[in-house]
Symmetry: C2
Subunit: 342 residues, 2 copies
């Protein structure tokens, strides 16, 4: 049997550490697995100069020239429309044209969200493509869905998020019968805002997901659910607060430990163990956030992504393809919808 190759277009120009860490992540990925081809999208001379430092199987990396770069501060809709030769637009067009199975970028979130919808396009019947990062918990990771740009969502969107999230966690992360919960301000069904109250009974009716009810934000770090459903504004607040608070606490702890001579000695002894603990709460360890429900796969990695996160994101794309996530989304979520002529 011939080995199936997953072709990942990688934005070599996006993110704080471009192109160095992106190119290194690509090289590490192909040196680790032979079933991948990385299409490095970016300014050819810049990318090739980086590549020269490394040894790797030449047939597994190809440079695709893209003259322009979309900056983080650019208004996304404009950037996608005008910069046709940018690494994001070129990479996404490759997914659209089926020249790549997935596109990975650490660049402008806004441009990636807009490009995903406008260029790659939604699966027919999917109302909105949610951005779904993994967040670290005491017990492992949970999928937070949606953290994207789709604010003011409707109940039907949240139901699709729940189903897509469940498929992703079961098949990409290998969590059997993942627990799906909706973010709420109390555990009871009658609690919540208008959106949650409308969505809750719809989720209860879904026979194809393991809906466990409401989750209060307090319980999220304890890993009380595998798929955490919310609309994008709330999801963004959760994700950003997670990152901000973890960073602040770690900073305060380090400062606190340097405050006395006694604690300084203690710190020197305890820090290695402490660092490995805190690493499990570092979201960047877990690869990028998929934008689900598209005709192909788009993965947004952290702007500050280093090579390891890039490599992990590329491997994530392989699993996504191998497990035929989009096929499962079409079958499980849209099976009935298609019969209704949607």
């Amino acid at each position: 049997m011939q080995q199936e190759i997953t072709r990942v277009a990688l934005d070599a120009m996006g993110g704080d550490n471009a192109p160095g860490e992106l190119v290194k992540g690509a090289v590490d990925a192909v040196n680790g697995r032979s079933d991948i081809k990385v299409l490095l999208v970016g300014q050819q001379d810049v990318v090739e100069k980086e590549l020269k430092q490394y040894s790797y199987p030449k047939e597994q990396i190809e440079v695709v020239h893209a003259e322009e770069v979309i900056e983080t501060a650019e208004p996304p809709v404009n950037a996608i429309r005008k910069k046709k030769q940018s690494s994001i637009v070129v990479g996404m067009n490759m997914v659209k044209q089926k020249e790549a199975d997935a596109f990975v970028s650490a660049g402008s979130s806004g441009a990636i969200l807009v490009g995903g919808q406008v260029i790659v396009g939604r699966i027919r019947g999917i109302e909105r493509p949610p951005l779904a990062p993994l967040i670290p918990t005491e017990k492992g990771v949970s999928l937070l869905i949606d953290c994207g740009a789709n604010v003011d969502a409707r109940a039907s969107h949240l139901v699709q998020f729940a189903k897509m999230g469940s498929i992703y966690m079961e098949n990409v992360l290998g969590i059997k019968n993942p627990r799906v919960a909706i973010v709420n301000i109390g555990a009871e069904e009658e609690k919540g805002n208008a959106l949650v109250k409308e969505t809750f009974p719809l989720l209860k009716e879904c026979t194809d997901i393991n809906f466990v009810g409401s989750i209060e934000a307090r319980e999220i770090p304890h890993g009380e659910a595998d798929v955490i459903v919310c609309e994008a504004f709330v999801g963004n607040v959760i994700l950003k607060l997670y990152e901000g608070l973890a960073g602040t606490l770690v900073g305060a702890i380090k400062k606190g430990m340097m405050s006395t001579l006694r604690s300084k000695i203690g710190a020197a002894l305890a820090l290695p163990a402490l660092k490995s603990t805190l690493k499990t709460f570092d979201a960047s360890q877990y690869g990028g956030a998929p934008l689900l429900g598209l005709n192909g796969l788009v993965v947004k990695t952290h702007g500050s992504a280093k090579a390891k996160e890039v490599t992990n994101s590329i491997y994530q794309c392989v699993t996504f393809k191998e497990q035929d996530i989009n096929g499962k989304i079409k079958k499980n979520i849209l099976g009935s919808a298609e019969q209704e002529g949607m």
Copy 2:
């Protein structure tokens, strides 16, 4: 000049540590200051039995009998309506009848929010009374307003929250010209959901507050604003995630430090300094959350409040009265509204 006495009705029966820590908190409060009278509301025999352990100026504590107790799990509206002899209803009625200046409770949040509106009542012209806890940051504390039960708020509510929060921080916490920000998913004015987009320009127009624009959740722990405005669903998510994540991280750190012999020795040396650092991130250090905009003051303390938080909450009521916060709210927020006949 005769000393002005602040009369605080304290729910002796509410919270995880009732009545012990509540009664102790009351005793500590009156032993610390002579300008306070605490009206301990609860089952007389139970409360008096606790009181007997302590020595304190007898004229500063009075027990007010309330036969019933509202449990945390009870539906709030029902509980307030039916349990007329509960400590919460009796205590709130004392505020309504001007027999007490304030009511402090660690009991059911729902019952306190409902009772505040139904029994104590809103200041005429205030559309919604927000619950406004202080949250710890790198630089001190910020007021998170609203974390209450008022989900699905309107823009006009958020504008009142901003003004009331600003008055509270300036006069109770003593922060000059407090920076007011609205929780958003990006820094630009055009970012946000429908509610934030509608509220942002209204806040910009307010000449009586120091509006500094949007705040992303990531920046909250860094103390980038003194008054953080949001609707209650988002506020509740922020508050609960703050508590949950801080607790989880501290737990993980302790566990991490016990993982090797070397780190155990380090931990023993560093823990005292570490503990004092982490204490500044413990929300319970900062007293209770006021329910603002009522005809009187209602303060909700943590369900797990210990004596120290109870004492701090009682002192908070004194400052609230001394600074005439409700007078300032009426003058500054409703001055123009009253002229318009509201």
